[in-house]
């Protein structure tokens, strides 16, 4: 198969399946899941160093930054100020200029506060960040984020951790048509078929955490979604047949008795 890498601001990403590192049993499981996913880009969160137990292991000891691109997020930030603070801390921690920008609007839905998100995107893009904003599946919002300097747009498929799948594939289609930057579905994917659908629609990648961490067998699910993403991407590139209301016979009429 020909190389089919996604290039974002000069950064080459091989995998169409981006994986989150939250909610696993331990770092050993995290490492095994990442390996099984075949992903080369992983998200992480920024939190206080544990100062009471200095013997506790460090996540980065389990994820080789030479092998994987580390995409820090601003999860848990509800204001522009907090999102900026976490982004700048993440960059200073020295992994990269990439930031998965979240400005959350509501605790129950974890839907983004798009007004704050747009402001933060504008500021961080000017500061040289490679901004990956997590947004609602709104084509106009995605366009505004792109205009504000976002490197990609990350519309949600459904609420974070809900596993409901792509609730509005038609909006995603419009976003794909409008966007000049890559479109990565972030949040909502519940199982392998959801990921395949996203890729078949033409999305450039999917970012998944809970569908893997919440599976009975996370390592097996990571592998399943890896295959789904490969299948979905190939199907998209192959170009699906048009849908028709009535039947068309596959076997010839000619030669029948």
């Amino acid at each position: 198969m020909q190389e089919d890498n996604l290039v974002i601001r000069g950064i080459e990403i091989k995998s169409r399946f981006w994986i989150g590192t939250g909610k696993y049993k331990d770092f050993d499981e995290t490492a095994r899941v990442i390996e099984a996913s075949g992903s080369d880009i992983v998200t992480v969160a920024v939190r206080r160093v544990n100062i009471t137990d200095r013997k506790s292991p460090n996540l980065l000891d389990f994820i080789d930054p030479k092998k994987y691109k580390i995409l820090p997020n601003t999860a848990g930030c509800y204001t522009v100020e907090d999102a900026l603070r976490y982004s700048r801390l993440a960059r200073e921690a020295g992994v990269s200029d990439m930031i998965k920008l979240e400005v959350i609007g509501d605790e129950k839905t974890l839907f983004p506060d798009n007004i704050g998100l747009l402001k933060a995107t504008e500021i961080l893009a000017k500061e040289g960040f490679i901004v990956f904003p997590y947004t609602t599946d709104d084509p106009i919002m995605c366009k505004r984020l792109e205009d504000a300097g976002a490197a990609v747009v990350m519309p949600l498929g459904a609420p974070i951790g809900s596993g409901l799948g792509l609730r509005n594939p038609y909006n995603l289609k419009i976003i794909l048509e409008y966007s000049k930057v890559p479109v990565i579905v972030d949040a909502g994917v519940g199982t392998a078929s959801d990921a395949a659908v996203a890729l078949e629609l033409g999305c450039d990648a999917v970012l998944i955490n809970t569908a893997v961490a919440g599976a009975k067998n996370p390592i097996m699910m990571a592998e399943a979604i890896k295959h789904a993403c490969i299948a979905g991407r190939l199907a998209y590139k192959a170009g699906r047949m048009p849908k028709k209301l009535y039947a068309t016979a596959s076997s010839p009429i000619e030669g029948m008795l």
């Binding site: 939250g22 995290t30 969160a45 206080r48 580390i70 999860a75 921690a93 809970t210």
Partner: protein, 65 residues
């Protein structure tokens, strides 16, 4: 001297950020340090002097989606 480290009041004999990190056995890689809401660049860890009552935050990466 007393400082507020990651939200907790703490006594330290470290005069600089570098000394504080050594005292806490925190490696420089993969962390970021903020003093009174200003980020301290890694290059300044050796020279940046800590003062009594400073609010210091040291963060690193944890699992997240």
């Amino acid at each position: 001297m007393n400082i507020k480290l990651n939200g907790e009041t703490r006594e330290t004999s470290g005069g600089t950020i570098a000394e504080l990190l050594t005292e806490m056995e925190i490696p420089r890689q993969g962390v970021a340090v903020e003093v009174n809401l200003s980020i301290i660049k890694k290059a300044d860890y050796d020279s940046f002097a800590i003062k009594e009552g400073d609010a210091i935050e040291i963060v690193n990466f944890v699992g997240g989606g």
